[in-house]
């Protein structure tokens, strides 16, 4: 958890945002994140984000579910408590497949939801800094992380020249903290500007 300096550029159109993202990246600035009101196709690609490994995790959870179900049922029905059900063999694989399938789905689904929450740092009372309240409404908010060498004024005018309708400089908490929204002390000095 550390406070960092950020330059925030707000765009009101996807079509302006894409070339701006490209230019900011070629200019060598480090994009912290881009907050959009809705999922924008191809933005992850334009930002150069690596492909998520969530699906690989899902596959592993699924396989774990299948194995758990198979080993558990086969142990119960052949070793621990063999029962004669309708004259079927004790190792009655077809009857177990629905259960194996269900456990695969259950493990994969629950595992992926929890992993997703972990990756996005989502949990009750976990809070993160909002760079601009209109990011959830109608603005595309690009946040650039400043280094020691970054000239903030240059960067702000660079963003404005590339179509940003509003730019801002903020010193904000980079990570998450625990808190509640109803009784909150914002842990950063610079109060954000609420758009009129």
């Amino acid at each position: 958890m550390a406070k960092k300096k950020f330059v925030v550029g707000c765009f009101d159109d996807e079509a302006v945002l894409f070339p701006a993202v490209k230019k900011v990246r070629t200019a060598g600035y480090k994009i912290h994140d881009v907050y959009t009101p809705f999922a924008v196709h191809g933005l992850d690609h334009a930002m150069g984000l690596r492909e998520t490994s969530l699906h690989t995790a899902g596959f592993i959870y699924g396989i774990t579910g299948t194995t758990t179900a198979l080993s558990c049922i086969s142990w119960i029905f052949t070793k621990d408590w063999p029962l004669n059900i309708g004259g079927k063999p004790h190792f009655a694989l077809p009857a177990w497949i629905p259960i194996m399938f269900e456990l695969t789905v259950l493990f994969a689904a629950v595992g992926m939801v929890l992993t997703f929450c972990y990756l996005c740092q989502l949990a009750p009372f976990v809070k993160k800094h909002h760079f601009h309240p209109r990011a959830t409404d109608d603005l595309f908010v690009m946040v650039i992380e400043c280094t020691d060498k970054t000239n903030v004024d240059d960067l702000r005018s660079f963003l404005a020249n590339n179509g940003a309708v509003e730019t801002d400089f903020q010193i904000a908490e980079d990570g998450w903290w625990l808190g509640r929204y109803d009784r909150d002390e914002m842990p950063f000095e610079h109060k954000q500007i609420v758009a009129a």
Partner: protein, 409 residues
């Protein structure tokens, strides 16, 4: 769009290949007809006509699946199909041709009174058998002929109307009103085909043509199972043609993104097929009632055991494990490999569905099956190539074309 190559020309090599395959097929057909078709032995006759039957039905259904794909994507107002929609259209032009062959084979079986194939043709046996007597309203020659005729005629006609409608987008740019009107008319035509498709492939036709070989046995899942088989092979066929045309330098507007979607269909419907395979199998296995298990007895424990489980491996395990990754569905080589494997797998599936009931004691898979397969593959290549060459590859004024060009998964 002046730089696009929208006019396909049939390469000489493709013609040579298709004529060679048709030639091999005709030789096999002729030889099969002499040694088996005209043989005095009932078993040989059943072998010959059964082989023709499952091949004709399989190829008609996979070509028809292309038209179904166009119609459901039209109904769903899908944009991504527009850059390659002429390919499934071209494949669906085979429906009248293969449909006519299927019709001829089925009519020969019914009017030639082949009751070793369709037991319900034997009116004395039906009268003496309470189960067959109860099914008489559905399984009788009159209904069979009428329903088969209607089915093939309407598949061809309604499909032709959808293709005619698609050609209108070649002519001139449309205004917004004209475009909206165009989409609406397309929706109507596609809906008509889809409804008829549901009444035939989705329910009655597989029961009538193939399930009635085991006249006593029934499974309500059988039609869905057949549909899933034909649809996943149909998607594989579309993928193969897209990749072929891409390799020849056509279809500039179609790319990995579109292939990815086709790959998803191949993956998803392989799983769907397995779901139906398993549901049908498990219910019968669990209940263990003799009149139901009769279908699986010789398939799971008899001579068809190998084919039956081989079928599950190539139609379920291979697509599941190979097509699961995103990069696999975007890889032309892997998709080609999987498409060929899936089509072959479902051809084998149709083989065991028909021949497994006709020749219970021994597996008949041999030169005749592969010969007839060659005939159908050759015909398919020849006519799809011709049909592709007869019209532009891109419906360039279709209102959704841009959506397809910028399509991204």
């Amino acid at each position: 769009m002046a730089s696009l190559r929208t006019q396909f020309e049939v390469p000489g090599k493709m013609k040579t290949w298709s004529y060679a395959l048709i030639g091999i097929g005709l030789v096999a057909l002729l030889f099969g007809m002499i040694t088996k078709g005209f043989s005095a032995d009932e078993h040989e006759q059943v072998h010959f006509w059964g082989t023709l039957m499952y091949n004709t039905i399989f190829f008609t259904l996979i070509c028809n699946a292309s038209m179904f794909f166009i119609c459901v994507t039209t109904l769903g107002q899908a944009g991504f199909t527009q850059s390659f929609r002429r390919i499934p259209e071209a494949i669906s032009t085979l429906v009248p041709i293969f449909g006519a062959i299927t019709f001829a084979v089925l009519m020969y079986i019914v009017f030639g009174h082949k009751h070793h194939i369709y037991h319900w043709l034997d009116s004395e046996a039906v009268a003496a058998d309470p189960i067959l007597n109860g099914k008489k309203g559905f399984l009788n020659p009159t209904f069979f002929v009428i329903w088969t005729t209607l089915t093939i005629a309407l598949w061809s006609f309604l499909g032709w109307r959808v293709r005619q409608y698609s050609r209108e987008a070649d002519e001139a740019p449309m205004s917004i009103e004209q475009g909206a009107n165009y989409i609406w008319r397309g929706t109507i035509r596609a809906a008509m085909f889809t409804v008829w498709f549901a009444l035939t492939v989705g329910s009655t036709i597989p029961w009538l043509w193939m399930m009635s070989i085991d006249a006593h046995w029934y499974s309500t899942m059988y039609s869905w199972y057949t549909f899933a088989s034909s649809f996943v092979s149909g998607m594989s066929l579309i993928a193969l043609w897209i990749i072929y045309l891409k390799n020849k330098g056509y279809l500039e507007l179609t790319g990995q993104e579109h292939l990815h979607d086709i790959g998803k269909f191949m993956f998803a419907f392989s799983i769907f097929w397995t779901y139906l395979w398993f549901s049908q199998y498990m219910l019968i296995w669990y209940a263990n009632i003799p009149e139901e298990t009769v279908y699986f007895k010789h398939r799971v424990q008899g001579p068809y055991k190998g084919i039956f489980f081989f079928n599950l491996i190539i139609n379920f395990l291979c697509p599941l494990l190979i097509l699961m990754k995103r990069s696999a569905k975007r890889n032309y080589t892997l998709v080609t490999f999987m498409a060929v494997l899936i089509i072959f797998g479902h051809w084998i599936d149709f083989y065991q569905m028909v021949m497994g009931s006709l020749s219970k004691d021994h597996v008949t898979l041999g030169w005749l099956d592969f010969g007839i397969l060659a005939f159908f593959v050759g015909t398919l290549i020849l006519f799809v190539g011709r049909s592709l060459a007869s019209k532009p590859l891109i419906a360039k004024y279709h209102p959704f074309l841009k959506e397809s060009v910028i399509h991204q998964v």
